[in-house]
């Protein structure tokens, strides 16, 4: 009897892993198939790439938990890149005063994050106050953001973004640096560090603060949340603002990574972010979701992408396989949920 219990405990732990399970399988698979995959360097690289979907995914998780969706994240990435690039390369010219202002990188960072928050607030305001469907609102801001990003430079790239000592605006490249580099160890990419810190904070806020529970409640039953005195509008706007801020951050990070800002950066990244969130077990219907899940989901997406590249899978097959893995992963997740419920039932009955 005791042995059996041990067994079923093990099985339960496996089942609770859900997507983690898929992640591990993928990891083992690629380690075997692509021999350069399981090296420190490759893994650090994967982390850096994962950070991109991951940070977008954190904001997206919040939004999806309230039952919304944010399609504008990709275009905010592009827009922020263009604004930051423009501010560094061309500065801000005040025609009436006849001067051109150059801002330091911390100021630019703040401006950009504020810009992301602004887009988020607009999204949130339209969703919460005007009661428009999140899908359509953020589809609209997606188009607008992408258009503006292109208009900023007339479709050109800002490539001179390292700044100029004399103007005091050097330092944007720090968003692509590595820390803790010791000897042979190349250091952890700053994006990955940011990702883990943000994920920890976001997970904490979601489960340990009233704000977190309020957004879970809004997603679960908006009317009941309202009648419970939760400020649905304020919280919804906050959530979209957070998503906007995350996107703005990624805008700066990618800009540093390619050392240029290109107006089409971030095109369709929202889909990767959403996929990461859903793979992590967050329900599109709202009310259910964890940040930990999103982190795992982001790793799944990142590992398939990098792994397939290393295996030399052709572009077209990569698409097919990505689609299959996404569907399979949620399928396995669902299957585990059912099995888990069944096993819990059995365990209880036995103990009765």
């Amino acid at each position: 009897m005791n042995k059996k219990k041990g067994n079923s405990n093990l099985a339960m732990t496996l089942l609770k892993g859900r997507t983690l399970f898929v992640l591990i399988i993928l990891f083992i698979f690629f380690s075997v198939v692509a021999d350069s995959f399981c090296t420190v360097n490759s893994l650090l690289l994967v982390c850096k790439h994962v950070a991109q979907y991951g940070i977008l995914g954190i904001g997206m998780t919040y939004v999806i938990i309230t039952g919304g969706i944010d399609l504008s994240v990709g275009s905010v990435v592009g827009l922020v890149g263009m604004v930051a690039g423009g501010l560094i390369q061309e500065g801000l010219t005040l025609k009436f005063a006849g001067v051109t202002l150059y801002f330091s990188v911390p100021v630019i960072t703040v401006i950009c994050i504020l810009l992301g928050i602004l887009v988020g607030v607009i999204n949130g305001w339209l969703v919460a106050k005007c009661k428009l469907a999140p899908f359509i609102v953020t589809l609209g801001t997606m188009y607008i953001g992408r258009g503006l990003a292109n208009i900023r430079s007339g479709g050109n790239t800002f490539s001179n973004i390292r700044g100029n000592e004399a103007l005091g605006n050097v330092g944007i490249m720090n968003f692509d640096s590595r820390i803790f580099a010791v000897g042979d160890f190349p250091g952890i990419p700053i994006a990955a560090v940011l990702f883990l810190i943000l994920a920890a904070i976001a997970a904490f806020v979601l489960k340990k603060t009233p704000f977190g529970w309020h957004i879970l409640a809004i997603g679960g039953n908006e009317k009941a949340a309202r009648l419970s005195g939760i400020k649905v509008e304020k919280n919804t706007i906050m959530v979209y603002a957070i998503s906007g801020a995350c996107s703005a951050l990624i805008g700066l990070v990618t800009m540093a990574q390619i050392a240029a800002s290109h107006p089409n950066t971030g095109d369709s990244w929202e889909m990767n972010a959403i996929a990461a969130v859903v793979l992590g077990g967050t329900s599109m219907a709202g009310g259910v979701g964890t940040i930990g899940g999103t982190v795992i989901g982001a790793f799944v997406i990142g590992i398939i992408n990098d792994g397939m590249t290393m295996c030399g899978v052709s572009e077209f097959w990569q698409k097919v396989i990505r689609g299959l893995v996404i569907i399979l992963a949620v399928l396995i997740d669902q299957f585990q949920r059912n099995l888990q419920a069944k096993m819990a039932l059995q365990a209880r009955n036995e103990s009765k």
Binding site: S159, V170, P186, Q257, N264, T265, E315
Partner: protein
């Protein structure tokens, strides 16, 4: 040796990087992974057969010379390209052949490869900085577009209204080609009445052309930034049942365009000899890795061939055989 030595733990320090670039410009040979015999071929999406040719040519030529060739696509996303370079570096590629995702946005990626001791050979599209790629072998876009435009002016006699379909406006090629077209056409009496972007896309090209034809049924020519859009425009012209000829030109030299030219639906295109360019790049990569030099300038322009009804037969899969 499989292990990679990323020479650039200081990549973050812009000043330092710049300095090392200057220093490393010509003397140092980038053959950190020469023994791996691995070539990474990074191109835009091969759902445009033009880039498919880059991959197949690279594959064939590389294998002939005893290399393993891995072909990947960056989908014209500079960030994804940067990630692919990362992957190539961490996998220890001997050389990278790349059709890049943006003249400015790709500099950093090429620099990264250089810092890791991997030579990059750019094909088809150039970048806005010299000294970091080992070779930049590009089709002379400007010359090709000029030739096509001249053919157009000849056909129309330099009279009439025309429309232009631009590619993706954030692409460098889009601007280069458009400038070349205008340099020729604007010398004549021809007048541009509409200019629209069709994002290099065939369906969009067809729809935009259809709408423009509706508004300006008298136009005598449609100037297209690439052949895909030109094919779309040709379909639109055909279904519009006009009572006069509309001349369509493009740039690229795809098989579809060739067929359209043969059937008289399109006038001319500038063939970019991408197959030749890519093979050159692979051979130079091999030379460089084995001898330490390509024996050529960094920037190499390969002229385009004007394809019209007379010589269309000699074109197949971007290969022009005399």
């Amino acid at each position: 040796g499989n292990s990679t030595e990323p020479a650039a733990d200081d990549a973050a320090e812009p000043a330092a990087t710049e300095a090392s670039t200057e220093a490393a410009a010509s003397d140092e040979v980038l053959n950190a992974n020469a023994d791996n015999k691995l070539i990474y071929c990074i191109t835009p999406s091969t759902s445009n057969p033009y880039f498919g040719v880059v991959q197949t040519a690279c594959q064939e030529e590389g294998e002939k010379l005893g290399y393993t060739v891995k072909c990947v696509s960056h989908d014209d996303d500079a960030t994804k390209q940067s990630e692919l370079f990362d992957t190539a570096i961490s996998e220890g590629a001997s050389a990278i052949v790349c059709d890049n995702a943006g003249a400015d946005a790709s500099i950093e990626a090429v620099q990264k490869a250089r810092d890791a001791g991997i030579p990059t050979f750019l094909v088809d599209r150039e970048i806005n900085q010299e000294g970091i790629a080992v070779a930049q072998i590009v089709a002379n876009n400007s010359q090709g577009a000029t030739a096509a435009a001249q053919a157009l002016v000849e056909a129309t006699g330099g009279e009439g209204q025309y429309a232009e379909l631009l590619g993706l406006e954030s692409d460098t090629n889009c601007q280069v080609r458009s400038d070349a077209f205008h340099a020729v056409i604007d010398q004549t009496n021809m007048e541009m009445v509409a200019q629209q972007s069709a994002n290099w896309d065939q369906t969009e090209g067809q729809q935009k052309a259809e709408t423009i034809l509706q508004q300006y049924p008298d136009i005598v020519a449609i100037v297209c930034g690439n052949d895909t859009m030109a094919c779309g425009a040709a379909a639109a012209v055909e279904s519009a049942n006009l009572d006069h000829e509309v001349y369509i030109i493009g740039v690229d030299g795809s098989n579809d365009m060739r067929d359209n030219i043969k059937e008289g639906k399109c006038l001319a295109t500038g063939l970019q000899q991408i197959d030749l360019i890519t093979r050159n790049a692979v051979n130079q990569a091999n030379d460089y890795l084995t001898t330490g030099s390509t024996g050529m300038e960094e920037k190499q322009l390969v002229d385009c061939v004007l394809i019209n009804a007379d010589n269309a037969d000699k074109l197949d899969n971007f290969v022009y055989t005399e």
